[in-house]
């Protein structure tokens, strides 16, 4: 009986259960060599189209009031260093968006899934082309219209093969990103 959809009468976004989000995010991968055994300075641009579905109404009270959404993201990374190679991945993703600030909504997210890259085998850290990617990070969505947001954020990015083949030191990186989302 109440207005459902992606916007309320006052123009602020009203994201309810069942609201979908499609987005496109781009960023640049910057390496972290966490141990002395890590020598590769892998870096390059990343492109991440995504789809999300809101599955809860706002929960909690006060500053931590927020909504959970789940979805999936495709990841493409062009490794420009140490050698021009590529990586493709598909990661299911879960996100918690803080809704207390209405049009500016911080969020935290976690994603993980399979990742294929031909960089592996050419570097000492990774031996197999089939890997997994795990990311966790935070961001900020600024709703420029009730259905569109601009997003910026940061992710920590880890690639390894879960011990299926050795060496498996893992590749770690920071991924600052920006992008936009459309809600419907």
């Amino acid at each position: 009986m109440t207005a459902a959809g992606t916007y309320a009468a006052d123009g602020s976004p009203m994201i309810t259960v069942g609201t979908q989000e499609v987005g496109l995010t781009a960023g640049y991968l910057l390496p972290h060599r966490l141990t002395t055994d890590h020598t590769t300075k892998q870096q390059g641009p990343a492109l991440m189209p995504s789809w999300m579905m809101t599955i809860t109404d706002p929960v909690g009270e006060g500053w931590n009031r927020g909504q959970v959404s789940i979805g999936a993201e495709a990841v493409y990374i062009e490794f420009r260093e140490p050698v021009l190679t590529h990586g493709f991945g598909f990661t299911p993703k879960i996100k918690y968006t803080f809704v207390a600030l209405d049009q500016v909504r911080p969020y935290v997210e976690f994603a993980g899934g399979p990742f294929w890259t031909d960089l592996a085998g050419r570097i000492p850290e990774e031996s197999s082309r089939f890997n997994f990617v795990l990311t966790s990070g935070f961001g900020l969505s600024w709703f420029i219209t009730p259905q569109t947001s601009l997003n910026v954020g940061y992710r920590f990015h880890h690639i390894s093969n879960a011990g299926t083949r050795y060496p498996n030191l893992g590749l770690n990186a920071s991924l600052p990103f920006g992008g936009f989302s459309f809600y419907f």
Binding site: M1, T2, A4, G5, T6, T16, V17, G18, T19, M53, I55, T56, D57, V59, V68, S69, I70, G71, A72, F90, P92, K93, I94, G113
Partner: protein
């Protein structure tokens, strides 16, 4: 080799089709008021025996907290009352009332809705669905519950008051890919409809009470009102639990 490839292709298509079809399903279970009757009631009332219906008060609550009355819901209630053809005219909240020397009934309504979005369960199930790479989305069901309780208090021109209560609850069951904001609207609409139908059913059974020829106007045209301040709510009302439907899926 070719037949094996063919078999796997067929199996793949069947799996994909099943996941797509089952993963997009949703259905709504509505539990009507326990007092509601199956058979509809029909009463006849002469045109000149019908009196105006004036909406005098409308309160809305959501999960125990007061909220602004919704014009949409008020309009829907008035439409439902109109469909009974029990009253000559309907005056919405704040509308111009007929003169005091005219017979009329005044109504006060409360609409108490309880939303149980099952957020905790949805978050966990969502995590499991994501972790399974969405393969479990056709078998993991998500739920959203909604219940409505309405009460209608009608005061006749001679000061006699009748009170009617109705309640209904429902749950929308859905799979991840079948979720849409519209399904919540559909659920709320169906629950409210069941609730209002029950209320109108009770109202129509009392047709005789509202016939203008049944009771004369009181001697004094001055209506008495009682004015009192509402007690502030000292502690928040506990959240009521939405009953879970056990009705078979359609």
């Amino acid at each position: 080799m070719t037949s094996q490839l063919f078999r796997w292709t067929i199996l793949g298509f069947i799996g994909l089709a099943t996941t797509t079809i089952v993963g997009c399903t949703r259905w709504i279970d509505v539990i009507p008021s326990p007092n509601s009757r199956q058979e509809s009631v029909t009463q006849t009332i002469p045109n000149n025996d019908r009196v105006p219906f004036v909406m005098e008060g409308f309160r809305m609550m959501q999960n125990g907290s007061p909220r602004n009355p919704s014009i949409e819901i008020e309009q829907r209630i008035l439409n439902t009352v109109q469909e009974t053809r029990l009253f000559s005219t309907l005056v919405p909240l704040g509308g111009n009332s007929p003169s005091l020397d005219e017979k009329m009934v005044t109504a006060r309504m409360t609409f108490d809705e309880t939303i149980d979005p099952h957020s905790g369960a949805a978050a966990w199930k969502g995590f499991v669905i994501g972790a399974s790479m969405f393969l479990l989305s056709p078998v993991i069901e998500l739920d959203y519950g909604y219940a409505a309780k309405t009460s209608l208090e009608i005061e006749r021109w001679d000061g006699q008051v009748k009170r009617y209560d109705a309640q209904s609850a429902g749950t929308v069951h859905y799979h991840l890919f079948g979720a849409t904001p519209m399904m919540i609207d559909e659920l709320k609409g169906q629950v409210a409809e069941a609730c209002l139908m029950d209320l109108m059913d009770q109202l129509v059974r009392d047709t005789g009470f509202y016939m203008a020829s049944g009771t004369p106007l009181p001697e004094s045209a001055i209506r008495t009102v009682t004015v009192k301040a509402r007690n502030p709510l000292l502690s928040p009302a506990p959240l009521s639990v939405v009953p879970v439907s056990t009705a078979p899926t359609p």
